[in-house]
């Protein structure tokens, strides 16, 4: 687990990318991990079903904050439908090293919030014929 705290993880923790708020967002969600109090909010700006811009905000441990930060880098330019289907493996690939089971919830908080923003938005779209 101590191997987890690599330089790039600490860098994302201390200098989170896409941190803050969008002036105007098309989809958003937030959630917390009640066990440790980690909080993440994600806002998405969309263009024709594609993520044009993203911001996250929140507080918590290095694992939750760094993985959310890396996630925001990954989703820019992605189709919202693909964002909704992002898997755990994508996050694990980003963070690059095994997370202990006790901390998995921290690592996946950003993903959970992101997917719920995407799914919530998609649910409001008219069905395609």
């Amino acid at each position: 687990m101590d191997d987890f705290y690599r330089d790039y993880i600490l860098d994302h923790y201390r200098n989170p990318r896409n941190f803050g708020h969008l002036e105007k967002s098309d989809a958003q969600a937030e959630d917390l991990n009640p066990l440790c109090g980690d909080q993440i909010r994600i806002e998405l700006a969309l263009d024709d079903g594609v993520v044009r811009d993203v911001r996250f905000s929140g507080k918590g441990c290095a694992i939750s904050q760094a993985s959310a930060s890396m996630l925001t880098e990954r989703v820019k330019g992605m189709k919202l439908a693909d964002v909704a289907k992002l898997s755990k493996d994508a996050v694990l690939e980003d963070v690059g090293i095994g997370i202990s089971p006790t901390r998995m919830k921290c690592a996946m908080l950003g993903l959970r919030v992101l997917r719920s923003a995407a799914i919530g938005e998609l649910a409001g779209w008219p069905d395609e014929e």
Partner: protein, 413 residues
């Protein structure tokens, strides 16, 4: 490392888990006894003996092992009563502190608390001594008030009499599980009684760590959990003054708590059995009795002094990290706190700190410690917490400090 008095080494040898290295081959440094304590061999053996030698349901079987199970179960009640200076009929078996408080909130609270009454808590309460009263207040229209704390987690009692005005009940932690603050019960209880309030003391962190005499404290109710004081999980005690228990209606109902049942009507047993519906946690109650035997043998004044000494040593060693951003929360006076220290290291989140300490075999708690309103008030997102018990030594605190060095290194502090 400071030499201990030899007694601690003997105690350590009684706890099998402390001899088991972690999966990384580290010595287990257990600093989370405020969450739950480890168990001595005698307590574990009592559980095995019950199931291997005399497992039977109590208070009904006529055969030999049932008689033995009943006798041991009731003997454990007597031991618990003696441990806190109570009478056996004032000791109600419950699952844990949380259940004990809920029992009082429903049985006593529903019968006595009315709209407009006040219930006085403190700002340091564990959720278990807060949420049941919030629900009681919602059911009855009563109002919650709080004894405030200052920035370092000390109680501010200046306005106590005003807070007590119109109060039906005071419910307060004997010892805070987050900051270790000991409530001056000798001040609060007499004034609460003078104001006409009934006093429930949440002793979850009191009974394990301080000598407790419920008659001297003059608590009306005192609640605690076996698992935090060398006993098994699933067993705890509600102490209640007999006159109060006698007048209270049942909380749970069913078998084992009745005198006579007719199809339409039931008369209930006297306390404590009135409050013990259904088959009890027999083995765990008996093993809890063995746990308090062990604590009695060690001596509660020794427990308190041992923890006071460790706390003083820990505060002194931790202060050495303050220049690198270590924040220590709570009163810094070992005479007014129990063996609990909450802290944070610079910008390292408590969970990350606990994860790094874990790689060295060091167990600390990280988070809000079931005191979310306190964390919010103090502006702490989360804290790491080290807590001590009879099997801890200065060597454990040295290990904690080595672990903090490692965390500081990893995070480049």
């Amino acid at each position: 490392m400071i030499a201990t008095d030899g007694k601690t080494e003997q105690i350590i040898a009684d706890f099998p888990i402390l001899a088991r290295p972690t999966s990384r081959g580290k010595r287990l440094v257990y600093l989370d006894s405020a969450a739950t304590s480890q168990k001595p061999r005698a307590v574990i053996q009592a559980l095995v003996d019950y199931y291997e030698q005399y497992n039977a349901n109590i208070h009904r079987g006529v055969y030999e092992i049932a008689a033995r199970a009943t006798a041991e179960f009731e003997r454990a009640r007597v031991k618990l009563a003696r441990f806190i200076g109570a009478d056996a009929r004032e000791v109600v078996w419950v699952r844990n502190t949380t259940e004990a408080i809920n029992l009082v909130a429903y049985s006593w609270g529903n019968a006595h608390v009315r709209a407009g009454d006040a219930i006085l808590l403190t700002e340091l309460e564990h959720h278990s001594d807060l949420v049941p009263w919030q629900l009681l207040a919602e059911r009855t229209g009563a109002q919650l008030r709080f004894i405030p704390t200052d920035d370092s987690g000390r109680y501010v009692l200046d306005d106590l009499d005003a807070l007590l005005d119109g109060c039906k009940l005071v419910a307060c932690a004997h010892v805070s599980n987050t900051l270790g603050t000991i409530l001056p019960l000798e001040t609060v209880v007499p004034r609460a009684h003078a104001a006409g309030a009934v006093v429930l003391v949440d002793g979850a962190q009191g009974a394990p760590h301080l000598p407790v005499d419920v008659k001297a404290i003059d608590a009306d109710f005192y609640t605690f959990s076996g698992h935090k004081m060398l006993g098994p999980t699933g067993i705890g005690v509600l102490y209640g003054k007999h006159t109060l228990l006698e007048a209270m209606p049942p909380f749970f109902s069913g078998g084992d708590m009745i005198r006579k049942v007719e199809y339409a009507h039931t008369t209930f047993s006297d306390p404590p059995r009135r409050f013990e519906a259904g088959t009890s946690n027999n083995a765990d109650a008996i093993a809890f009795g063995v746990a308090v035997d062990y604590l009695h043998e060690v001596g509660m004044p020794w427990v308190r002094e041992h923890e006071r000494r460790l706390t003083a040593y820990a505060l002194e060693r931790l202060a050495g990290f303050e220049a690198r951003g270590l924040a220590i929360y709570g009163p810094r006076d070992p005479a007014t706190i129990s063996g609990v220290i909450s802290f944070n290291l610079a910008d390292v989140h408590a969970h990350d700190l606990a994860s790094i300490l874990d790689t060295e075999g060091i167990c600390v708690r990280a988070g809000h410690h079931c005191t979310m309103p306190l964390m919010e008030k103090m502006g702490w997102a989360a804290t790491a917490r080290a807590s001590f018990y009879i099997y801890n030594t200065e060597a454990d605190i040295d290990a904690l400090c080595d672990g903090l060095e490692k965390a500081a290194r990893v995070f480049g502090i």
